[in-house]
């Protein structure tokens, strides 16, 4: 059974033995050594055997662990026994062997360490090897001393491997799945041993323990399954962090469970076989020690694994408690029955970690692989693009780089908060959706399709939100594995941040990979530049250069797409850039934190743009980008609105573009004047729009995070709303362009140059709208826009921050609903705590809702050929919204939600003298009867038998 591989190990072991004093066991002097050590049978041989066993186990690990381990153990035992013919002696021998091996506690450690150095793979098997070897001896040997020794030895051995595990973690981290297999195999061995015992050993006690062991083995699964189900989140997190951490660190915590397991199985049999209370106690104590050791290890590793801590500690503590309880029981009963409880408890302790690991691995595998591929493809694509395109677009890239830098800074900051993490994760899935959307766009360039695709993507997002935690972890894992971050083995939060950054990367990577365009080259060049600057500016950002670079990618992609358009129209682009830079500066000042959404949105936009670029319709592509950005920012409402309203292509585009651009009249006019071609015109607005749009989203994010700049962000949101409103009005009106221009004029009048960046943005974006209108509808050009342009030109980027603050106040009054009112109502309905950062989101929702509501009501009124919206319209709306149905009349809702005075107005009530208070205007007889009927119900409260009152009504009616 000795494979040729064993030679090296043997040599090593013998070396060590020679070096060590032969009496080491005595030196260790922990316990049993004197009695058993004298055996002359040749310690070297036994050592060699041990080595053999370990070696074989090693091999077994490499191959199929279960079968090989089983065979090797049995065969080894037989071989060792061959000298002594009797079974009893046979069984004794292995125990003795173990004893000697274990007795010399010091020597085995050194041996193990050496072995570890040679092959880290060994460690897990070592654990297993010790207990199974012991399995037989206790059953066969009724001798209390020998048993004690064996047990104690096992405990010692177990403790040792735990120490080793820490050092060996590298190898072990990889093997986890195998390990689980090994464990199962080990369990099988235990079962076999138990069976053997039952057959061979005549002791009644043996039977009970075996059954108990089996029970223990199987029953724990349920509990473990529950545990894992409950605790899933934590383990995942642990794993991810572990991966990101140095693998060694990972291995440490992972190992501890194994140690527990190894200790526990060793303990399982001894109690069953030995009715001796002392031995049991000793074993238990040893196990307790072992358990404590891993805990210590965990403590050492805490830095990276701080999150994991709680759970681990729980397991350990719980396990220890169980052991203690078991020990107490044993002491009290000191009988065979007690063995059952301890065994069960131990078994519970054994399996819980494994299950969790297995589940983790199963769950987390999918995503990382996908990530990897994407990353690789992305890298390859990037390299190619770099080689080909670096030289061509240098100028534009440089110009863009500045903006990119600013954005990158803002992006990098965002990663500090946890909410950002969530966003990043969401982003992970978004790219896929984005890809789909791009593909769909390519297939059919119709807007509805694109909108649907985007909706799907966001739906995915929403779905993903529930699973974010898992996904996040998986994403982190994937990133870590893909890039082999080990070089920067940062611990704890830094790791988390990195992982996040990496997560964001793959998304970008994917997007880029799909884009076989020039973008990649510029991105990297820009990234480098951007990375340097942000670091200098922001200490926090500097800590995570990678994150910054990655964060830069999306923005760069955006700008790259823009850059393409820029190459076409450099003259227009220059002006746009200047403005963009100013905006970017304002961003930097604001220290916008959130990029995650921007990242997601931007890659999508880039993809869409690229996909569409292949087609001749560049303007539409850019429009799409803008649209997507907007959608991301204002998720649902816009899409639905578009999908509903935007049946006609040109109209919808026109509508959306203004929303996106929000009115950059200057650029639009420039584009019109400078470039006569439609493409150039559209491209210029798109350029303007893309850089500007990220701002609102970022600021919205800030609001969500409650960074304290709610007011500014809020203003931005409001501005966007205003822009939307303007657009809608324009759409609704006959000459939308004119309306927009009028509004812009109004704003311009209101605004001094210093006042608002928002106003600048609005005029900037309007041109796109105007242009498109022009293009599609061939409508009038805006002279007013020129006027606005002048205003904007006067307003400098420097004045932006101050202006923002001012505008904040002003815009607050224009909030969709007053904050106090909205929040109080919402809190009343929520019936739970509501964080303060809800308001911007809520405001956003209400804005969309009210827009839709008003539109619907107007539609209803128009359909009825009325110019006034009446109660019936609202009632119909409520019915269509599902609030009113056959089971829920309006009156109930009114009584439930409205105050008494309102109710009095809405619900007619019969008062004394048979007078209905809100007069019912149209009272044709049947209607009158109906009302009487209803009010009589009110009047005779509680009596619902209308039949009874029917004659009465008739009488009334007749009178």
């Amino acid at each position: 059974m000795d494979p040729p591989d064993d030679l090296s190990a043997r040599v090593l072991l013998r070396h060590i033995q020679d070096m060590e004093p032969p009496r080491t066991p005595i030196n260790s002097g922990e316990d049993q050594a004197p009695s058993d050590s004298p055996l002359p049978s040749g310690s070297p041989l036994q050592h060699g055997r041990l080595l053999r066993s370990s070696k074989t186990q090693r091999e077994s690990q490499f191959q199929s662990p279960q079968n090989i381990v089983r065979r090797s153990l049995r065969q080894k035992i037989h071989q060792s026994i061959t000298r002594k013919s009797l079974l009893a002696t046979k069984r004794r021998t292995p125990s003795i062997v173990l004893r000697k091996h274990s007795v010399s506690t010091l020597s085995p450690r050194q041996l193990l360490k050496l072995i570890q150095e040679t092959g880290p793979v060994m460690s897990p098997l070592v654990h297993e090897s010790a207990p199974p070897a012991e399995l037989q001896p206790p059953s066969a040997d009724p001798n209390p001393p020998s048993l004690q020794s064996s047990i104690e030895l096992s405990g010692l051995d177990l403790s040792d491997p735990s120490m080793e595990d820490v050092s060996i973690q590298k190898g072990l981290s990889r093997k986890r799945p195998r390990r689980s297999l090994n464990v199962t195999a080990f369990q099988k061995l235990l079962k076999d041993a138990a069976k053997k015992r039952e057959s061979s050993a005549g002791d009644n006690s043996s039977l009970s323990p075996s059954s108990s062991t089996s029970l223990g083995l199987q029953s724990p699964f349920d509990a473990d399954g529950e545990k894992s189900g409950i605790q899933r989140k934590v383990p995942h997190r642990r794993r991810t962090s572990g991966r990101t951490l140095i693998k060694q660190q990972i291995g440490g915590p992972v190992m501890s469970p194994l140690v527990h397991e190894s200790a526990t199985p060793a303990e399982l049999q001894p109690p069953s076989a030995d009715p001796n209370p002392p031995s049991l106690q000793s074993s238990i104590e040893l196990s307790g020690l072992d358990l404590s050791d891993p805990s210590m290890e965990d403590v050492s590793i805490q830095k990276g694994l701080s999150r994991k801590r709680p759970r681990r500690s729980l397991n350990v503590t719980a396990f220890q408690k169980l052991l203690k309880d078991a020990a107490k029981k044993r002491e009290s009963s000191a009988g065979d029955n007690s063995s059952l409880s301890p065994s069960s408890s131990t078994s519970l302790g054994l399996q819980s970690p494994f299950d969790a690991d297995a589940e983790k691995s199963g769950i987390q595998r999918k995503v990382p692989h996908r990530r990897r591929t994407s990353g690789r493809s992305f890298n390859a694509a990037m390299n190619k693009q770099q080689i080909t395109d670096v030289s061509s677009h240098r100028l534009s890239a440089q110009n863009i780089a500045e903006d990119a830098n600013f954005e990158g800074l803002t992006l990098a900051l965002s990663k500090l908060s946890e909410t950002d993490i969530m966003n990043c994760h969401t982003t992970l899935y978004d790219p896929q959706g984005a890809v789909d959307s791009s593909l769909s766009v390519l297939a059919a360039q119709d807007k509805p399709t694109a909108s649907t695709c985007q909706e799907e993507t966001q739906e995915e997002r929403g779905e993903m939100a529930g699973e974010k935690s898992v996904e996040v972890f998986s994403g982190e894992d994937g990133a870590a594995t893909d890039e082999c971050v080990p070089g920067s083995h940062e611990k704890g939060k830094d790791d988390v941040n990195k992982t996040e950054a990496e997560d964001s990367q793959p998304n970008d990577d994917r997007a880029d990979g799909f884009l076989t365009f020039e973008i990649g080259v510029r991105d990297e060049s820009e990234e480098e530049e951007a990375a340097v600057e942000p670091q200098a500016e922001e200490g926090e950002a500097a800590v995570e250069p990678q994150a910054e670079d990655e964060g830069m990618d999306p923005s760069q992609t955006e700008e790259e797409a823009v850059a393409d358009s820029q190459s076409e129209e450099e003259g227009v682009a220059a002006g746009a850039r200047t403005e963009d830079e100013g905006e970017s500066e304002s961003r930097a000042e604001n220290v916008v934190v959130l990029e995650s959404q921007c990242d997601v949105e931007e890659p999508q936009a880039a993809e869409d743009a690229s996909g569409l670029q292949t087609n001749d319709e560049a303007p539409q592509e850019e429009e799409w980008e803008e649209e997507e950005l907007e959608r991301d920012t204002r998720h649902v409402g816009h899409r639905a609105y578009r999908s509903e309203g935007g049946l006609v292509m040109p109209v919808t585009e026109a509508r959306e573009d203004p929303t996106d651009a929000a009115g950059s009249s200057e650029i639009g006019s420039k584009g019109l004047g400078a470039l006569g071609s439609n493409t150039s015109l559209e491209a210029s607005p798109s350029q303007m729009g893309t850089p500007e749009e990220p701002e609102p989203s970022l600021q919205e994010r800030l609001e969500n995070e409650a960074v304290g700049r709610k007011s500014s962000s809020f203003h931005l949101v409001q501005v966007s709303h205003d822009a939307e409103a303007c657009e809608r009005q324009s759409d609704g009106g006959d000459a939308p362009a004119e309306d927009a221009a009028e509004q812009q004029e109004e704003w311009a009048d209101d605004d001094d140059d210093e006042e608002d960046t928002h106003y600048e943005e609005l005029p900037d974006k309007t041109p796109a709208f105007v242009k498109q209108k022009r293009i599609f509808l061939a409508s009038n050009p805006p002279p007013l826009t020129l006027h606005v342009e002048n205003v904007q030109a006067s307003s400098s980027s420097e004045a932006l921050p101050k202006a923002k603050q001012k505008q904040v106040r002003r815009k607050k009054t224009e909030a969709v609903l007053p904050k106090t009112c909205l929040m109080s109502v919402f809190k009343h309905f929520a019936k739970t705590k509501v964080s303060a950062d809800v308001f911007p989101a809520l405001n956003n929702v209400m804005d969309k809702f009210l827009d839709r509501l008003s539109l619907d009501l107007e539609t209803y009124a128009a359909h009825a050929k009325r110019k006034t919206i009446t109660v019936d319209d609202v009632k119909l709306l409520l019915r269509r919204q599902g609030y009113i149905n056959d089971k829920m009349p309006v009156e109930v809702l009114i009584e439930k939600y409205l105050r008494m005075e309102q109710r009095r107005i809405l619900i007619p009530i019969a008062t004394s003298g048979n007078v209905v208070v809100p007069k019912i205007k149209k009272c044709s007889p049947p209607l009158f009867f109906f009302f009487l009927n209803r009010q009589s119900d009110n009047f005779f409260s509680g009596l619902h038998a209308k039949k009874f009152f029917l004659p009465f009504y008739l009488v009334l009616y007749c009178i």
């Binding site: 739906e459 929403g462 939100a465 529930g466 998720h635 649902v636 409402g637 639905a640 509903e644 609001e703 969500n704 409103a725 609704g732 609903l817 007053p818 009112c821 909205l822 919402f826 309905f829 929520a830 019936k831 739970t832 705590k833 509501v834 964080s835 950062d837 809800v838 911007p840 989101a841 809520l842 956003n844 929702v845 809702f849 009210l850 827009d851 839709r852 509501l853 008003s854 009501l857 107007e858 209803y860 009325r866 006034t868 919206i869 109660v871 609202v874 009632k875 709306l877 409520l878 269509r880 919204q881 599902g882 609030y883 809702l893 009114i894 939600y897 409205l898 309102q902 107005i905 809405l906």
Partner: protein
């Protein structure tokens, strides 16, 4: 005051006149929407095991609610 608020907001948004009682009902519609939104957000928050409703919860629910609110 809510009525006034709703009225004001609606005036900004509507080109058509709104009946006197219709504003009340519109307010009712707004309240109903807010109520349902709050409920959904609360459910979402509990799904994510947080006792407080955060912006992310509302954002997650927004789409569904707006879809439901289609007239």
């Amino acid at each position: 005051e809510d009525v006034r608020v709703v009225e004001a907001t609606l005036k900004g948004r509507k080109n058509r006149r709104v009946g006197n009682r219709a504003t009340l009902k519109i307010e009712l519609a707004v309240l109903l929407f807010l109520n349902s939104l709050a409920e959904e957000a609360r459910v979402k928050a509990f799904e994510e095991k947080s006792a407080t409703i955060r912006a992310q919860h509302i954002n997650a629910v927004t789409k569904k609610m707006l879809k439901r609110a289609r007239g």
